[in-house]
């Protein structure tokens, strides 16, 4: 990644120290934003917000709330950043937010460590098909202690 002064966008899928953006840029300013529209639309309860909050407090980041893309971009301006780094997400909502950020300022995405690295995308549809391809690869990482 060619950024000189990026900021990090930490989202709900990667609130751990092993977040690849935090690992790659440990000194960069980082932000987590509570998505107020999602919280309202999905009627997310306070327990879930408290849980997210407590996870976020473990990490060296600034907490904000509001429109996520707008908040991340404002945070980037605040730190005169030349880009945003985040971890790739599964949730389409987070992907859309990423696209909105990227439309204004380049966004670089890093993949979190995978559960299983498969040589080609597995066949989905039913678990059995996936597991037939994945199980042996998962267990390759295991060696009995003694």
């Amino acid at each position: 990644m060619t950024f000189q002064r990026p900021i990090l966008w930490i989202h709900e899928e990667a609130l751990g120290a092993n977040n690849p953006a935090l690992q790659a840029w440990p000194e960069a300013p980082a932000v987590f934003v509570f998505d107020t529209r999602w919280i309202q639309d999905a009627k997310i309860s306070r327990k879930r917000l408290g849980f997210l909050y407590e996870n976020a407090l473990n990490l060296p980041l600034t907490l904000r709330k509001g429109d996520v893309a707008a908040e991340v971009l404002a945070f980037a301006r605040r730190h005169q950043a030349d880009g945003v780094v985040s971890s790739s997400a599964v949730d389409p909502r987070l992907k859309r937010i990423g696209e909105a950020i990227d439309a204004e300022l380049p966004l670089g995405l890093l993949d979190p460590e995978a559960f299983v690295e498969l040589p080609r995308p597995p066949r989905l549809g039913r678990f059995s098909r996936y597991w037939r391809e994945a199980e042996a690869v998962v267990w390759k990482g295991y060696s009995p202690a003694c």
Binding site: G16, R46, F51, Y53, P60
Partner: protein, 303 residues
């Protein structure tokens, strides 16, 4: 990990709290529309590590279907990336003496990975019925609203009201409780799976459309070959009778009956595939799924 407080400006949410109550108060101010209180389940790496340390893969394999079984309680931390599935996998590897001991738990981690991959594929399509219902009822026959007595936990069924209370106060439920509750809502109360799934999402700390919506659809039969249902014997067994003893509805329990009786009562006749007799117990949920759903009639736990 050190978390030196970054310089704060207007609109930054606080990072210092005198107590958990103070966090609760702040959340009430900042998110007045978000209902309820904090969960007794705490966020953060320390709490997650404590749960990691307690993993007992061998006991897990034997007891995971029981409400009091040795399940890990890791789902909220995994869902939000406090722990990656890869870290949990490695923790399991470090704790087992041979592959057999960890097989079941590693397989369950695989389920999470599988649902995530499905979600990547489906995107927002995850909100729709993946297939038609195989219950003999039309999608339109299912209510799109969650009944008030369910939401309020006033149905009189000690088990379901109890699961509802646990969901609301803690934001976590055992897998079996989730399956029973989903099956009851969809098949007995005729509520569309999406209404139930959305309600779960409001409250579950691990709420995740991948695992949640697709499991609801699996129960409903819009993502499986046959609906999942249960009977009183099954619930009583895996909850050690803790709900049925003293339930006001014990004498008029809607779950009382053989699987055949309940099937006739709940579903209008559709062709079934006979039970191959291979499954030994409740594990068959997995077997019927992991056999590609080919023997979908197995979606009936044995007593």
């Amino acid at each position: 990990m050190p978390s030196a407080a970054p310089p704060s400006i207007n609109g930054d949410l606080p990072r210092q709290f005198a107590s958990r109550d103070a966090l609760n108060t702040l959340l009430a101010q900042e998110f007045p529309e978000a209902e309820g209180e904090l969960s007794p389940i705490r966020g953060g790496r320390e709490a997650a590590d404590e749960k990691l340390r307690r993993i007992d893969a061998r006991r897990y394999a034997k007891s995971r279907n029981n409400l009091k079984g040795a399940v890990t309680g890791l789902s909220p931390y995994i869902r939000h990336g406090v722990l990656t599935l890869a870290e949990v996998r490695d923790s399991v590897f470090a704790r087992i003496r041979n592959r057999d001991e960890g097989g079941k738990l590693i397989n369950e981690l695989g389920w999470r990975d599988f649902w995530q991959r499905m979600w990547l594929d489906l995107g927002d399509g995850i909100n729709n019925d993946q297939e038609p219902f195989k219950t003999g009822h039309d999608a339109g026959a299912y209510s799109r609203e969650l009944p008030t007595d369910v939401r309020d936990g006033t149905t009189g069924l000690a088990c379901m009201d109890g699961f509802r209370d646990q969901l609301i106060t803690t934001g976590w439920l055992h897998n079996h409780a989730r399956m029973w509750m989903a099956a009851w809502l969809v098949h007995w109360r005729r509520v569309h799976w999406k209404a139930g799934a959305d309600w779960f999402m409001q409250h579950l700390l691990d709420g995740d459309p991948a695992s949640n919506h697709l499991s609801w659809q699996w129960v409903a039969s819009t993502f499986s070959h046959k609906p999942y249902f249960f009977n009183r014997g099954n619930l009583e067994r895996y909850s050690d009778g803790s709900y049925c003893d003293g339930c006001p509805c014990a004498k008029s329990c809607p779950f009382e009956g053989s699987y055949e009786q309940l099937e006739n009562q709940l579903f209008t006749p559709i062709p079934t595939i006979p039970d191959s007799g291979k499954s030994r117990n409740q594990q068959r949920n997995r077997q019927s799924r992991s056999s590609g759903g080919a023997s979908a009639a197995l979606a009936r736990p044995k007593r």
